[in-house]
Amino acid sequence: MSALRKLFRFHGGVKPDYHKHASTRQPIAGTPIPAELVIPLHQSIGGPPRPLVQAGERVLKGQRIGDADGNVSSAVHASTSGTVTAVEMRRMPHTSGLSALCVVIKPDGRDEWIARQSFDFRNASPTETRDYLRDAGVVGLGGAVFPSHLKLNAGKQGRLDTLVLNGAECEPFITCDDVLMRERGEAILKGAAIMREMLAAGRVLIGIEDNKPEAIAAMMAAARAAGDDAIQVVAVPTRYPAGGAKQLIRVLTGIEVPHGERSTDYGVQCFNVGTAYATHDAIALGQPLISRIVTVAGNVGQARNYEVLFGTPMRDLIAPCAPLPDSDRVIMGGPMMGFRMPGDDVPVVKATNCVLVGSDALFPPPPPEMSCIRCGECAKVCPSDLQPFEMYWFARARLFGKAQEYHLFDCIECGCCAYVCPSRIPLVDYYRFAKSEIWAREVEKEAADQARDRYEFRLLREEREKQEKAAKLAAKTAAGREKAAAALAEAEKPARTPEEEAKHALIAAALERAKAQKERAHPENTSNLSPEQQAEIAAIEARRAEIREQAKPHLRADD
């Protein structure tokens, strides 16, 4: 099933030490159900799901506890049966250390499933299948947690050339996809088959870095067993970040999908192997996404992969791995792109592919930053063909517009540039800083534009009210006789010339037009809505804006 095929190269890339061996010596292990599960509602790109349960309620394993908010969102489920003890703000697995709404469950130990039923996607419309996957909480498990149902859409042509399964797993230390492919290749392929049908894809290419011979062999065996010639397992050269969705698509097909465009428009779609597995679970077994494989590695005596229920505190995972005494940090993800956690109490979520324990010995603090010598090393390794030092220069000077001109938003934050920089500049930190400033500014600008519109509308409304009052008053005065006479005298005094009259008419007409335009533009502001309705509309709008903002940074849809 694996043919010798022409592979393509992506620009740049680096070869850090891989450290993958330690965690692949043993098979995937289960974890005991923890004493408390803290399940954040917002675990994917898109709108935060609405809680469906309240404190005191009993939930079953796989029961939906958070409902997708609109289509760009994804549901969350209870990972075991038990009692909801609270729906409250808890610390998130996020570098900021801030809290967000979580459902806290006290497991009852029975691990009792909801009624599970496979979903007959062949007899369902594509939209129904997508809705089903959204409600099953299936999101990209490569780390980007983009809702998968949004990507299972063949786009304009209604069919694709290639479905790429991403098993490259290029980040050092992480082996969760590796072991998943070794042990559960068959289910992955079944999931891929479902995806392929939904996308009407011609072929399936499974890209695996050639430093994982066992996984390649296992997947080849599974593909042989499946007996489908359209499925090909392809060993790709080991070079970080070959596992970036765009880089892998490039390596396998030669196609470069530009930033901000849909890969389906180029005839290809890419999913992580874990996502294919989860899709199979959801459709064939009727099991929503409630757990995933997580690598625990780094500064531990026994690195290993676990199948972990979402909501399990990271420390429960680390403890059996014998962390070394000098461990002082927990990183979610790998050493190149991972994020420091605020503590080891935060829960495992859908984005947690790896819990990396760190120490100063393992990840020494970088030597002090020096000036950029424009050596161009960073540009040589950038997989997005950027000029990192130029972006750095402008980000550092807070010239964000210029940084954007140098394609800041094409940067995938892979860290290659910072990895090679001889001046030890934390380049990616500058890009993260610049990006979040730019996003914040966009949010502010939108809010300001909205405020301006609302303010101008209010001025117009006040003016209209004034006019109405004036007109009423005028009518009244005209009715009174003496007053009418006085008014007549008044009217004659400033006797306007016809030109003036014409000018006034023109102005009036202009104002009328402007008003009409305003009202067309803001139908929700018409006063015949009840305040409640208005409030609701406004709240929804605000939320929409927020979702748009949140979705924007991630819409590159890396899986």
């Binding site: 050493p335 990840f363 030597p367 010598i373 161009g376 000029q387 001889p422």
Partner: protein, 339 residues
């Protein structure tokens, strides 16, 4: 605490600079062999001055001293100055040159990474304008006696015995003063300073630099673009003119193996800070230097034009960079490499 990436490649500015210094050694060895040990004195003098000046400037600007002093960039500048100045130049010439490079060209512009001009070339240009005669007194090939050379550097100067015009200088003077009668072939044949390929002795020094350049290429400290574009331009244009009028224009081998051509190609033109960084930009930049060098050599008032050529192109570098941005991932349609 720092953020990802948590892994960093064990590379530093210091290791880059040290390898550059290492790459200079073969050329220096040939230099000493043919022209005596005076150049070593100059290197030591320039190094000490550069380090002191660097330390003083860092202190003044409130920068962490050891961090930047240890980066080795001042040493590279110092060595390049010592290698481009005449080895028997009086000590103060070198000192002033180094001070000009470190204090003015480097730190007044904001220190390493911010200087728009190549510091060593600023020093060279400044000194050759200010002291044209001192900057043209070169030791004669073969006179490797150390004592008179040392005397020339530190003591009262008796130069006639040990100096000789550099090949470039000799050629230029001959062609300029004897106008119609002198031909390149005649001049080259007549003078002791011309060797088989380029200048006598100089060709070996150039070969040493070439070797060092190959090492830098192998270490991926420099890319092929700049040396190739520079040398090729020089080769093509000098070849063309020599073919067209061999009487008045020296051929490519002479141009490539005399003066600072090889040193320039691998060590000066390739200075990353003041040059271009995009691959195409590097080609334009170095080709521009090659062209200007040849023009200045052939028609200008100074014997070697690399310094001025480099400074002129330094000015153009940001503009070239801006207009040679390589296409970003996914935006390569114009070149047809994607979709």
């Amino acid at each position: 605490m720092h953020n990802s990436p948590y892994f960093l490649k064990p590379a530093s500015v210091r290791s880059v600079m040290l390898r550059v210094l290492l790459a200079l050694l073969p050329g220096i060895a040939a230099y000493v062999w043919f022209f005596g040990a005076a150049v070593l004195v100059q290197i030591a003098l320039a190094s000490v001055t550069a380090l002191l000046a660097e330390a003083a400037m860092l202190k003044l600007r409130g920068k962490p001293l050891m961090l930047y002093l240890g980066d080795g960039s001042a040493l590279v500048t110092a060595w390049l100055i010592a290698l481009t100045f005449p080895p028997i130049a009086p000590w103060w010439l070198t000192v002033i040159g180094v001070l000009a490079a470190i204090v003015v060209a480097k730190h007044l512009y904001g220190g390493l990474g911010q200087n728009p001009f190549n510091p060593a070339m600023v020093a060279f240009a400044l000194m050759i304008v200010a002291y044209p005669s001192l900057m043209s007194q070169w030791p004669a090939v073969g006179f490797t006696d150390f004592a008179p050379q040392l005397n020339a550097i530190f003591g009262p100067r008796q130069l006639d015995a040990i100096t000789m015009a550099t090949p470039l200088d000799a050629l230029r003077t001959a062609l300029h003063t004897e106008e119609a009668r002198a031909t390149v072939a005649g001049v080259l044949g007549s003078s002791a300073s011309f060797g088989n390929i380029g200048g006598k002795g100089w060709e070996w020094v150039a070969a040493g630099y070439f070797l060092g350049g190959l090492y830098l290429l192998q270490q991926r400290i420099i890319t092929w673009h700049m040396p190739a574009a520079f040398l090729l331009t020089l080769l093509v244009i000098s070849g063309a003119f020599a073919a067209f009028d061999p009487g008045h224009f020296a051929g490519p081998s002479f141009h490539l193996f005399t003066g600072g051509a090889m040193l320039g190609a691998f060590f000066i033109v390739t200075d990353p800070v003041s040059g271009c960084t995009t691959p195409r930009g590097k080609l334009f930049f170095a080709a521009g230097i090659g062209l200007l060098t040849w023009i200045i050599r052939a028609f200008g008032a100074y014997p070697d034009g690399i310094a001025f050529a480099v400074l002129l192109m330094n000015i153009a570098a940001p503009l070239i960079d801006m207009n040679t941005q390589p296409p970003v991932f996914g935006h390569k349609d114009k070149r047809g490499s994607a979709k």
